[in-house]
């Protein structure tokens, strides 16, 4: 488990696969609904001008997550 990384560690242009959506409740439900399920490919595009939130590309559309939310998503190392 020492290789467990989270989505907020991706640098612009890097791509990863989702391993698991942590968190619970409304946030997890929303992340799952938006397509962040196991195996989904996700690319980090850029950070907002003030550093947060972060823009990703997933399933062909653009999604923005706050850094704290991206930290809830484990990605394949």
């Amino acid at each position: 488990m020492n290789t467990s990384r989270t989505l907020d560690h991706l640098m612009p242009g890097q791509t990863a696969r989702v391993r698991r959506v942590g968190s619970a409740g409304a946030l997890r439900r929303r992340l799952l609904d938006m397509g962040l399920v196991r195996g989904a490919e996700i690319e980090m595009l850029k950070r907002a001008p003030l550093g947060d939130p972060i823009e990703y590309r997933v399933r062909g559309y653009h999604l923005s997550l706050r850094q704290a939310e991206a930290r809830m998503i484990e990605i394949e190392a």
């Binding site: 907002a48 001008p49 999604l63 923005s64």
Partner: protein, 749 residues
Amino acid sequence: MTAGPFTIALAGNPNVGKSTLFNALTGSRQHVGNWPGKTVEKKEGRTTINGRDIVVVDLPGTYSLAAHSVEEIIARDFIICERPQVIIVVVDAANLERNLYLACQILELETPAVLALNMSDEAHKRGVHLDPQALSAALGGIPVVETVGSRGIGLDALKAAIQTALAGSSQPFHLAYDALIEAGIARLAARIGAYPELTAVYPARWLALKLLEADTGIVAQLEREYPALIGAARTIAQNIAETLGDELEILIADQRYQFIGSVISASVTRTGRAQITPSERIDTILTHRIWGIPLFLALMWVVFQFTANVSAPFVDWIDGVISGPITRWASTLLTALGLGGSWVQSLVTDGIIAGVGGVLVFIPVLTFLYLAIALLEDSGYMARAAFIMDRVMRILGLHGKSFLPLLIGFGCTVPAIYATRTLEHEQDRKLTGFLATFMSCGARLPVYVVFASLFFGARAGNLIFALYLLGIVVAFVTGWIMKHLIYRGQPPHPFVMELPPYRLPTLSSVLRTIRGRIQEFVQRAFTIILACSVIIWLLMALPATLDWRDFNQVSISDSWFGAISGVAAPAFAPAGFGQPEAAGVLLSGFIAKEVIIGTISQIYGGETADEADSSTPSTLADDLREIVYTFGQAAVLTAQEAINILPRTANLLPGVDLPEANFLPLEAETDAASGQMNQALTQAFTPLSAVAFTVFVLLYVPCLTALTAMRLEFGVRWMLYQVVYTAAVAWVGAVAVYQGGLLLGLGGG
């Protein structure tokens, strides 16, 4: 109507052109936005299919039916409770994967459905080729139609598909889950079958699935009356979760997306490599690390210029026509009827025409404001504004999405309050609505304009800009206080927002938006403002002594209006405007901010209007010529102001001094009535008390309509907090300005 009217519903993700398709289908007027979750209101229209009248309901755009947001609950409850005969699932053909997730959930509700592949032209352009027949087959045979809502393409096919779905006896769609989950669904569905009152409302399989997912909405609904069922669902879900090693909520979402993956590979082919779209190229500039914020601020500044300056020439034109020719014509007509100089003439000119004028002068301001907002929304920039601003809004404990209602608050507080529905959480909505009233609304602007131009001439813009800024600062301080004192220690809500592709707003949709909103304003304004204008005229005509012989013959201070204002006035003395007239104006502004200027012109300028219009005899032809001529003048000045946004914006930078266009040098002419009003105002106010007065107008109690909206959305208690808080802040603010100014020696004006 033998079988009752048919109802069909449009469902889909936000930003898939659902509203556009709705418009194309019904021809109705309603707003089309590009903001995630924009369509909160339920919109209804009518269409005819094969000679049959059909009700079309536009459901809120949602990503899911999980019932975690208001929109989702509205959409789900409508589908379950109202049972539309057919649901049109509108999907973005270029972005099928996530769109099909909602489609699956709707199909699982076992209502006849049609899939509309909207914006299919855009998909083709991006090299996405869809096979409608393969898609239909993969989704259990539901009709699939390609449409382009913005150009009305595919409407006939869609209507034919609706008929097919209405007539069809297609099998209910079942998404096949993992064998273990299917076994669990079957067991639970069997138990649900024992409750006929449940199966009458919900499809058993769907309910079983929701209970296994532990859907918060459904569980909360059934927990009380069916504890055994909920308990059984929990046990089954737990067993499955232990065997499969993950929670069912996750597993089910997983498998839905797996199923969608298989649907897509069976029906979609892509030609060419995925390339950078024009939208992405635009985005690299607009949300750029360095340029993003300056561009955002510049855009907001342009929006501001648009509403404040570009609209001004037509405001003046309407004002001139109403107070000039129209008032003259009415007087001439009434004189011909033998009512010249009577109270009837006074009622018509000072009450009715003044009131109508007070409504009409806002049309240009609001037109330009709504134009700007519609362009921001329909282009997709609004979501970027939230993306850029989220870090800042978070300081107030708000969501980046709160920026939208706050921005709309600059137009009008009422739509701002309704716009808070785009926020998922009640706390965010209430707080955003609470702060939105400090965003100086469009109806307050004319008050600033009158006072600023009168007392500060060429530097009027500085005062107006400072007032807007003050409103924002007060909102920030209020938000900060609430976050740190009232909502202390509560976890932040999810942000998770789609950034939709940039799209060129369509002219027809923008115009429909503007027309709809202006219509709404005029309708609302006419009833309320006309009534208020007449009531105020009546209060001013009624002598306080109740001596009817003096009706319409008393001075304002001897009227009822004067008596009421006189009681309230001393409270404003520390702020420098303790006259009963000022209190009266503020009193009327509580009913609607739009009437403030109307009341000012009645109270401060209205009394001598009779002399003014008889002194300028003019023929009908003269008047008509004047109206046309001044209209042309206003059009030229509007163009001039629009062009001048550029140099004015550039001139904000230090060291830049671009010349401004000056097609028509403004003559320093003021018509008699407003000249009268201006003279009265300069006698009643000093520059300092004028500033204090505008500060009070900025901050004090929102108008009656806004309060009504707040009561409906947030409850009576929250509305009362708002009244007390705004009144207190406004009084303190105005007094601080006036007393502070006196201390600094600014009192002598």
